[in-house]
C-alpha cells in the first residue's frame, strides 16, 4: 500500500487472494476475532492458577489484595473505560469521514493508554519498595506469607501480560495515527480491528480489577 493511495482506491483495490474488498474485510475481521479467542485462552491459563489458589487460600489472598491501592486501581479502570470510548469514537470519526475527529480520538486513546501504563509503573515501583515483588526481595509482613507471595505472583503475571498487550496496542494505534490518511469511510477495517483488540484488552482489565483489587475490602 503506497502512501499516495486514497481511501477510494482502497475501496476498489483488494489483495489478490480475495475476490473483492468486501470478502477481504470480512476475512480480516473474522481473523481478528479468532485471534482474540486465542488471547482468552492465553490469559485463561493464569486465571486457572488464580481461581485455584484463591479458592484454597481465600484469607491470604484477601489480605494480600488489600496491599493494592484501590484508588489507583479504580482510577485505572475509569481510564481504560474512557479509552474504549475514545477508541470507538475514533472508529466513528473514520467511518463518517471526519479525519480530524478520527485522529484526535486516536491520540486521546493513546494518551489514556499511556496514563494507564504510567499508573501501573508507579504501582509496580511502589510494590518493589514495599517488598511485595515475588522472588528474592519478597518481604511480606503478615500471616501466610508464602500464599501471599502466590497472590503477588499471579498479580504481576496477569497485570504484566495485560500491560504488555497495552504497549503493543499503543504501538499499533501510533502506526494507525501516522497512516491516518489511508483510512476513511470506504476502508477502515484496520481501525475497526485495532478497536476490537483494544476493547478486548479493556475487557480483561474489567475482570482483573475486581478479582485482584476487591477480594476483601469489607471489614
Amino acid at each position: 500500500m503506497s502512501d499516495s493511495t486514497t481511501a477510494l482506491q482502497h475501496h476498489l483495490a483488494h489483495q489478490h487472494q480475495f475476490d473483492d474488498a468486501d470478502q477481504q474485510r470480512q476475512a480480516s475481521t473474522f481473523g481478528m476475532w479468532i485471534f482474540l479467542l486465542t488471547e482468552v485462552m492465553f490469559f485463561g491459563g493464569v486465571f486457572t492458577a488464580y481461581v485455584l489458589y484463591r479458592a484454597l487460600y481465600p484469607d491470604a489472598f484477601g489480605h494480600a489484595s488489600n496491599h493494592l491501592d484501590i484508588r489507583l486501581g479504580g482510577f485505572n479502570t475509569a481510564v481504560l473505560l474512557t479509552s474504549s470510548l475514545t477508541m470507538v469514537l475514533a472508529v466513528y470519526g473514520c467511518q463518517v469521514g471526519r479525519r480530524r475527529m478520527f485522529k484526535t480520538f486516536l491520540l486521546a486513546t493513546i494518551g489514556l493508554g499511556l496514563v494507564f501504563l504510567a499508573v501501573k509503573a508507579y504501582e509496580y515501583a511502589h510494590k518493589f519498595h514495599e517488598g511485595l515483588v515475588p522472588g528474592p526481595f519478597f518481604n511480606y509482613h503478615g500471616p501466610d506469607a508464602p500464599q501471599a507471595q502466590l497472590f503477588f505472583s499471579i498479580y504481576f503475571a496477569l497485570t504484566g501480560i495485560h500491560a504488555l498487550h497495552m504497549v503493543i496496542g499503543i504501538c499499533i494505534l501510533g502506526i494507525l495515527f501516522f497512516n491516518a490518511r489511508k483510512y476513511g469511510p470506504d476502508y477502515y477495517t484496520p481501525v475497526e480491528n485495532t478497536g476490537l483488540y483494544w476493547h478486548f484488552v479493556d475487557i480483561v482489565w474489567i475482570f482483573l480489577f475486581p478479582l485482584l483489587y476487591l477480594i476483601l475490602r469489607h471489614h
Binding site: I34, T38, G45, A49
Partner: protein, 535 residues
C-alpha cells in the same frame, strides 16, 4: 517455451525467503521439518543404541535423559505438529477450495519465520547442554531442581507455538470465507474438514501451552511459587495446564493424517467415501472431545480419583469418532477397485497401525490397567503406534500422493512401494516388542534395564535400523525424482479434487479462472473426463 509455474516464476534466494505464495511457504516448511526430523531421528538412534544392552554403557545417565527429552521435544513440536498442516495443508488448502492463496499470505510467511526462530532457540539449548526434564517438563523438577537449559527450550516452544496459532487462524478464515462458488461445506474434501478441525485445536489449545511454559520460566527465574508446594503451590497444576494443550496436541498430530488417508483411500479404491457426513463430523468431534480428556495422563499423579473417573469415561468416548473413521475407510475399500501404489500401502498400514495404537489407548484409559503400565514402554509403544505408525505414515503417503502436484515429477513407484513395506516392517519390529516390554514392567526413560528384557530390546533396536533405512529411501528417491523423475500430468492418479484440475506444478495464482463446483466430494462413480489416468 517453459510453462510458468510457482517454482520457476522467480529465481533467487530472496524470492523464496520473502515469498507470499502458500506453495513456496509449504516447500520452505518441507525443508525445515525434514531437518528437524533428521535431528530427532538422530536422538532416537542414540536411544536405541544405548538400549541394545542392559547396562548403561554407550552414554551416561544424564546424557540419556537429555537425549530422550530432546527426541520428544523436537519430534513433537518441530516435526509432528507442523508436518502435515504446514507442508501439505499450506500447499493444498487453497487449491482444494479453489482459492488463489490463503486468507493471510504474509501471516503465513511470518508463521514460518516464527517457527524457525523457535527452532533456533531450541537448537541453541541442545547445543549448549540440552534439557533433561522429559518433553513434559514436569514440576517441581523443571522449576526447582533441573540444572539444564530449561528456559531457552521453554522459550523456543513458546515462540513456535505462535507459528501453530497463526497457521490455524489462517486455515479457519480461509475455509470459511474463500471457498469457490458451489463448494458448500458438505462438498469439501475430507482433507479440508480434517485441517479445519485441527485448526480449531491449534487456536484453542496452543495459547495454554504458551502461558504454561512462560509460567515455568517465571517460576524458574523468579521462584514465584505457583508450582512449589513449599510456598503453597501445586505441582499438579502444571500438569493440568500442560496436558490441557498436550492432549489435544496429539489430535493436531493425527487429524491431518486422517485427512490424507481419506483422500488416498477414495482415490485408490475409485469409490466415494462411505459415510461422508460421519467422517466429516467425526473430525470435529475428535477436536472437541479431545479437550475433555487430558487427565488420563495424570491417573497416578495424585490427581483425585473422582476426577480420574471423569477423565477415564470421556477418554473412552473420544475413541468413538476415531473408530467411525476406521470403519468408514474399511467400508470404502470394500468392493472398491483397489490398486497398490505407494500411497495405498501407507494408507493401509495407517489403518492397521492406528487401530492398534487406538485400542491400546483404551487400555490406558482404564485406570486400573494404567496404574500398572503408566510410565512403562507400553505407553511408549502406544503413542509411537499412533504418531509413527499413524501420523508419519499418513504424512509419507500424502507426500507421495501429492508429490507430482507439488513438483511436476513422478517418484519411482517400485522403489516407493519397497520403501513403504520396509517402513511398515521396520516399524512393527521396533515398536511391537515395546508393548510386551511395558507390560512386563520395563520403565520408560531408563537407560539401563534388567537382563531378561534384552532380547526384546535388541529386536526393537534392529527394527529401528530397518525403519531408518525405510525413511532414507524416500529422501533419496524424492530428491532423485526432481531431476530424473517422469514428468507428471495435471492428474496422474485420475483423482477427483480441485487440486487435480490445475497443472502440475500449479501456476502461482493456482487457477486461471476460479472454478465452479457442481459435484459432491468423491464422485468416482460418475463418469468424469479426468478419471482415466493420464500419465
Amino acid at each position: 517455451m517453459e510453462r510458468i509455474t510457482y517454482l520457476n516464476k522467480d529465481y533467487g534466494v530472496l524470492s523464496w525467503l520473502l515469498t507470499k505464495d502458500h506453495k513456496r511457504i509449504a516447500i520452505l516448511y518441507l525443508a525445515s521439518v525434514t531437518l528437524f526430523f533428521a535431528l530427532g531421528g538422530l536422538m532416537a538412534v542414540l536411544i536405541r543404541l544405548e538400549l541394545l544392552t542392559p547396562a548403561g554403557d554407550v552414554i551416561q545417565a544424564d546424557t540419556y535423559n537429555k537425549v530422550f527429552t530432546m527426541h520428544g521435544i523436537i519430534m513433537v513440536f518441530f516435526f509432528l505438529i507442523p508436518s502435515i498442516p504446514a507442508v501439505l495443508g499450506n500447499f493444498l488448502v487453497p487449491l482444494m477450495i479453489g482459492a488463489r492463496d490463503l486468507a493471510f499470505p504474509r501471516l503465513n510467511l511470518l508463521s514460518w519465520y516464527i517457527y524457525m526462530l523457535g527452532g533456533v532457540f531450541t537448537l541453541w539449548a541442545v547445543v549448549t547442554g540440552g534439557v533433561d526434564t522429559g518433553w513434559t517438563f514436569y514440576t517441581p523438577y523443571s522449576t526447582a531442581a533441573a540444572t539444564t537449559k530449561v528456559i531457552p527450550t521453554a522459550l523456543g516452544i513458546f515462540i513456535t507455538g505462535f507459528s501453530s496459532i497463526l497457521t490455524g487462524l489462517n486455515f479457519i478464515v480461509t475455509i470459511h470465507t474463500m471457498r469457490a462458488p458451489g463448494l458448500t461445506w458438505f462438498r469439501l474434501p475430507l482433507f479440508i474438514w480434517a485441517h479445519y478441525a485441527t485448526s480449531i485445536i491449534m487456536v484453542l489449545g496452543t495459547p495454554v501451552i504458551a502461558i504454561t511454559v512462560a509460567l515455568v520460566g517465571l517460576e524458574r527465574g523468579f521462584h514465584i511459587g505457583i508450582f512449589d508446594p513449599a510456598l503453597g503451590g501445586d505441582p499438579i497444576l502444571f500438569q493440568h495446564l500442560f496436558w490441557f494443550y498436550s492432549h489435544p496436541a496429539v489430535y493436531i498430530m493425527i487429524l491431518p493424517s486422517m485427512g490424507v488417508i481419506s483422500e488416498v483411500i477414495c482415490c485408490f479404491s475409485r469409490k466415494s467415501v462411505f459415510g461422508y457426513t460421519f467422517v466429516a463430523i467425526s473430525s470435529l468431534a475428535i477436536a472437541l472431545l479431545g479437550f475433555l480428556v487430558w487427565g488420563h495422563h495424570m491417573f497416578v499423579s495424585s490427581q483425585s480419583p473422582y476426577a480420574g473417573l471423569i477423565f477415564s469415561v470421556l477418554s473412552f468416548a473420544v475413541a468413538i469418532p476415531s473408530a467411525v473413521k476406521v470403519f468408514n475407510w474399511t467400508a470404502t475399500l470394500y468392493k472398491g477397485s483397489v490398486s497398490f501404489e505407494a500411497p495405498t500401502i501407507y494408507a493401509l498400514g495407517f489403518i492397521g497401525l492406528f487401530t492398534i495404537g487406538g485400542l491400546t489407548g483404551l487400555f490406558l484409559a482404564s485406570i486400573g490397567l494404567d496404574v500398572h503400565v503408566h510410565d512403562t514402554y507400553f505407553v511408549v509403544a502406544h503413542f509411537h503406534y499412533i504418531m509413527v505408525g499413524g501420523a508419519i505414515m499418513g504424512y509419507l503417503g500424502g507426500l507421495h500422493f501429492w508429490w507430482p502436484k507439488m513438483t511436476g515429477r513422478m517418484y519411482p513407484e517400485n522403489w516407493a512401494r519397497v520403501a513403504a513395506l520396509v517402513v511398515f516392517l521396520g516399524f512393527n519390529l521396533t515398536f511391537f516388542p515395546q508393548f510386551i516390554l511395558g507390560y512386563l514392567g520395563m520403565p520408560r526413560r531408563y537407560y539401563a534395564y534388567p537382563p531378561e528384557f534384552q532380547v526384546l530390546n535388541v529386536m526393537s533396536s534392529a527394527g529401528a535400523s530397518i525403519l531408518a533405512a525405510g525413511y532414507l529411501l524416500p529422501l533419496c528417491y524424492f530428491l532423485w525424482s526432481l531431476r530424473y523423475g517422469r514428468v507428471a500430468s495435471a492428474n496422474p492418479w485420475g483423482a477427483i479434487g480441485l487440486e487435480w484440475e490445475t497443472p502440475s506444478p500449479p501456476p502461482t495464482e493456482n487457477f486461471d479462472r476460479t472454478p465452479v463446483v457442481t459435484r459432491e466430494a468423491y464422485e468416482y462413480s460418475r463418469p468424469h473426463p479426468q478419471e482415466v489416468p493420464v500419465v
